[in-house]
Symmetry: C2
Subunit: 461 residues, 2 copies
């Protein structure tokens, strides 16, 4: 695919579409939109534009398609697989000005939002209505970015992924057409599910300019517990049993001893530095949760736990979650000369124990500092590996560990990416994961974006 190199006259044309103070070719602006939080090489776009309406987005995309200029949507740059890096340069559309809540429909459990809204800000606003938007990738992600990646997080085991919360989208297609897909109904059997085709398509099929999200009631009560285990195997055995019990945890996170060590160093949590489960339950009243936690303790005891700390107060629980969400940064702080790569695979539950054990072992054997943490209830493993920035051998080893893990996950019938998306990092595994259906994904791409201007160089090998 050949793209047109941009000239000053292109920039002038674009500045006529939006006001010129929302078009920038400034060096620091281009740098800020050249990379996400992954280790992939930065590529600067040729121009960054901040649209303020769907019509502006449509006009810019139309222009880009006519001129054959690459165009990539930008949320907060918090992705981990190079998903929004403008590898073919061109235009970055930064959605940070389109960050409004358009309507809160409390009694329908729905909210209409613009794509640049940060999900934590959405939940902050929703608090007064007693509702919330459950997916929680952790980073300060935008709703648009979450939709693009089908983001999920610590609550997904109970509440599902972003795709489970998207009812309706307004999308600008590559030809500049604005379409609405989906409905406000909780369920539907009406025609093809284009909605979920766009969710997780990483901005390669169209750009979301408005979303209607489903909300759920804030739980009346919650109760959490921290459980320690002698080994990862024992902890993952407990995970499988908790999932089988039907007790329906709202969170079920497994962290290895290395992660807990960081928590203690940075947050003074005073936790035992062994494999640790963090689990949380939501319910309508407290005595219910007390009984649930008793059942969970029994399961953990059978799996050979070392200790069970229950009845965490709200503060203690928040502290733990905060630490959990900062883990990526903690690893960087602990290894100031290193870059990090987060491996993200997901497998069926029976393969979980094996995949997490072999991941940790592989890092240990390679002498690469590894931090295994995972949304265990979903069978979704993250392994955060720290490699010295100027040591190509470290990065070769990291690449090898990563490859081995992905191939292992696929051999179990799992997926190369549980929640971080394909971006640039997982392109190479798409043929192995999807086989012949990858061809049909490409055909769908060609149908919606025949000139390939939307986020080129992603998803497809």
């Amino acid at each position: 695919m050949n793209f047109t190199p941009m000239t000053p006259s292109h920039i002038e044309d674009l500045a006529r579409i939006v006001s010129s103070d929302r078009v920038s070719t400034g060096s620091s602006v281009l740098d800020l939109h050249a990379k996400d939080q992954s280790q992939h090489n930065p590529v600067r776009p040729e121009v960054v534009i901040w649209p303020e309406s769907r019509d502006e987005v449509a006009a810019i995309v139309t222009y880009a398609e006519n001129q054959r200029i690459a165009i990539v949507g930008w949320g907060s740059g918090s992705s981990l697989e190079g998903n929004p890096i403008p590898v073919q340069r061109g235009i970055v559309l930064d959605f940070s000005h389109m960050n409004k809540i358009l309507a809160i429909k409390t009694e329908d459990f729905q909210v209409d939002v613009e794509p640049g809204l940060i999900y934590q800000d959405l939940n902050e606003q929703l608090r007064y209505s007693g509702l919330f938007f459950p997916p929680d990738p952790g980073a300060r992600a935008t709703v648009g970015g979450m939709i693009a990646n089908n983001a999920s997080g610590t609550r997904t085991v109970h509440y599902g992924s972003t795709r489970d919360y998207v009812l309706k989208l307004t999308v600008v297609l590559a030809n500049g057409e604005i379409i609405e897909i989906g409905s406000r109904s909780a369920k539907s059997s009406s025609g093809y599910d284009l909605l979920h085709l766009f969710v997780g398509s990483e901005g390669t099929l169209g750009l979301v300019v408005e979303a209607t999200l489903r909300l759920v009631g804030l739980p009346e009560e919650y109760a959490a517990a921290i459980v320690t285990f002698p080994t990862i195997q024992a902890a993952s055995e407990a995970v499988v049993e908790i999932m089988r019990s039907g007790l329906n945890p709202a969170s079920l996170e497994l962290l290895d001893a290395a992660c807990i060590r960081l928590f203690n160093q940075e947050k003074n949590l005073g936790l035992k530095e062994v494999p640790t489960l963090f689990t949380e339950f939501h319910g309508p009243y407290m005595t219910y949760l007390v009984e649930i936690l008793e059942m969970v303790e029994e399961i953990c005891r059978d799996a050979g736990h070392l200790g069970f700390k229950r009845g965490l107060g709200r503060e203690e629980r928040n502290r733990f979650f905060e630490a959990r969400h900062e883990l990526g940064e903690m690893v960087i702080r602990a290894h100031p000369d290193c870059g990090t790569q987060v491996i993200d695979v997901a497998v069926p539950l029976t393969a979980y124990s094996d995949i997490i054990s072999s991941a940790s072992l592989a890092a240990e054997e390679a002498g690469i500092p590894g931090y295994a943490f995972s949304h265990a209830g979903d069978g979704n493993l993250h392994l955060n590996l720290a490699g010295r920035k100027n040591n190509p051998n470290d990065w070769k080893l990291i690449e090898e560990i990563s490859q081995e893990l992905v191939i292992k996950a696929l051999s179990y019938g799992g997926t190369a990416t549980g929640e971080h998306g394909v971006g640039m990092g997982k392109k190479g595994y798409m043929a192995a994961e999807h086989g012949k259906s990858l061809h049909w994904m490409k055909q769908v791409k060609a149908l919606f974006d025949p000139k390939g201007i939307l986020n080129p160089g992603k998803i497809f090998p």
Copy 2:
């Protein structure tokens, strides 16, 4: 689209692909595959074939595409919108020989099945594993038919629709290619969601030959209640409040007085003949459910209920559900000279009270016997209308009521079909519901089935 009229030589060719005892042009066989449970005119196929493997399906579809012969998959014929009627004649593929459970993976909460398996038979087999497949359309539907229609039912308010339980599909495409889509992982962000494009596509994009379904644990305990109300409005007010409470009912069904009258006549249930809510809750132990039911009673009392019958025994609850599932047949028995049409729309919760009241009123004013029953928690209304078979005026009125309801549902941002699919009956509303995105659905159809041989004449106006 012109299809090739079939000749004896086509039938001979097909009999060479499968054994000749699995190819039939017998009159009674063709009649049995000419209509579903809707009021749409029957159309006989030219031949019925019972494939026994994916390779046979692929070979037959390849042949049909080369010869330009229409081909429609057939489950149990229980659909309600004419979805599998072979309007362009040609081949019906009856999947009843492909009805095996291929593997139960208890510890992964998964099952691999063939499409012709009846879902009740699946759940019967699963009972010993403590797991079940929740979607329950009621009729003896096949898993393949449920996937084609994204079927749902009385448990959807808690457990979701069929699409929430499909992890992986093996599909035969129009060109005879066999592709696998999805994975065994509970979550994924890997490439385009083709999986959910096929779910609900009513056999127009491909034919499912194998499915991996997600299962959930059978609830330890359940408790149900029957609540009576003076008016539909009062009952629907209670529905909205129960949904807002976060008490998470496993079923929340609203039936009008006419339905209850039939229950009493046929099943001797001795129920008060007024608008009635049936609600059920699932949980890990009984005292929890007792408390939940107390909260529900309080909500219903505030909404002005007439009575609250709680703590139904398993038998009483089963009797009620049985009656609920037989409602369609009861209506037919109550009006032996009539045919019936079931209207199926879904709306956001705030529109629910209005839509159900105006539906009942419209039927009453037209003098058409109407039975309103609905998956109330989902905002999904069914209105079963009985029209005298030889009275065109009845059917004109039914058509008018139906149109008015669908248009009203769409004006509320709802959908023309909550769970019965588009088939032939809802084609006319697709432009109104989907606007410009209907064009893109057509393009997707043209991509996967360029000759239009798969279930022609459905979904698209």
